[in-house]
Structures are given as C-alpha cells and as structure tokens.
Symmetry: C2
Subunit: 95 residues, 2 copies
DNA sequence: TAAAGTAGTTTATATTATAAACCAAATATT
DNA sequence: AATATTTGGTTTATAATATAAACTACTTTA
C-alpha cells in the first residue's frame, strides 16, 4: 500500500538541498543557504547528514581567501531521490 | 522558491492516515492500523495530533461491546492536504 | 476463574530539527 | 595599528517528533 519514505530525504531542508543539487549539479554553501533560507548551522548539519548517507559529495576549498564548501549530488543520491518521489506517490494518489 | 511543508502532514504516518481518509471518508482505528502497519501506540498519538490540528474528527463509541474509534477528515484537513501536495511539488520539480 | 485477546492510551526513550553560540580568518573602520 | 565587523562556516544545546514499550480496561474463551 504505502511505501516507506527514506528518512534521510523526508526532511524539508535536506529535500530542498537535494532538489537544488539535481537542477544545478553543483552548488556552494552560500548558494544553498540563500535558496533554502536555512540558518548556516542547520544547513551545515544537514549537508553532513547527506554526505554521511553518500547522497552528496562535499568539497572544501578556499576561494578568494575565504573557505568555500561545494556540494554535488552522487549517483546514489540521485537514485534515492527518484525512489523517494516514487514512494511519495503512494501517499498522494488522486492529486 | 520552496514552499514550507506543513509539519503536521510532513510525517509518514500522519500523511498515510490523511491519504486513507481522503479515499474512504471514514475509517476505524483498526482499519488505519492494518493499512498503515503502524503500532497502535504510534497511531493513537498521531490521530490525536491530527485531531488537535482540526484535520480530522474522531468519534469514540462502542460496537459489539468493544471500544471503537472512527476518524473522518474535516474540510480543514482536506484543504491542508491539498496545500501540502502543492507545496511538495516545489521540491520535486522535474519528476 | 484464569488466560488470552481486543482496542486502545500513556509514558519513556531515541531520533531529528533547529537555533544559539562559537571559531578562524579576512576585511573594514577609527 | 588596534579594534570592530563580516564571511563562511562548525559545534553544541535545546526543543520538537517519532516510536516502542508498558500499561489500562474490558471481553471472550478455555
């Protein structure tokens, strides 16, 4: 009947991050922060969780003397997102 | 960009309950329990939250000597669900 | 009448989400 | 040249949520 929803993705902020990374393929921390309106702390934590799950790759480097965190989705992350969307449909039915 | 997701509905079990109540219009506790595979305790708590939010009406009565809890969705609940689905779409985009 | 089943609720705990506080370095201000 | 402010984050503390385990109250069956 209802398919389980991946708890990693069933979180507003993490879902927004993945959603953005699908469209842009690569994004800076500050870009994600602006687009999601999340606090830096919350974003930092959720990026780590997505990384631990293997859903995104995180590259930390310096740019113009400032630290820069770049995120990109992995094939695992993309597959998880697609599965999540399919599972969600079992809850939405008619709509 | 991304619309906020109603936290009452952004919960796997509560979303499943509402989803069921939309299709059947009225359901017993035991029916919801079977369809969702939830534990009775979890279901009891989530039904209460949906009731507190005004998303469902709960009628407690006796049937064949046993207690019976019947749930039905309210217009408020239906509207909230529809809004939730619309908001969700901002996260799913391409799919 | 004791054991097991029905239909739940309450409570305790683990997990999550979030904000607040913090850190290190860069740049701007006086 | 010190001090203040800004950038780009991380860590930690707290509040909110989800969940399971334990419990309640009653009924049915052996």
């Amino acid at each position: 009947m209802f398919k389980d929803l991946d708890p990693i993705l069933h979180s507003q902020l993490r879902l927004a991050i993945i959603s953005l990374l699908i469209t842009v393929k690569e994004a800076e921390f500050t870009f994600l922060r602006e687009k999601t309106n999340a606090t830096a702390g919350n974003l930092s934590v959720q990026i780590q969780k997505l990384k631990e799950a293997g859903y995104i790759d995180v590259i930390k480097q310096f740019k113009d003397n400032y630290p820069q965190t770049i995120c990109k989705i992995t094939p695992t992350g993309l597959a998880a997102f697609e599965k999540y969307v399919e599972s969600l449909k079992t809850y939405l039915g008619q709509s």
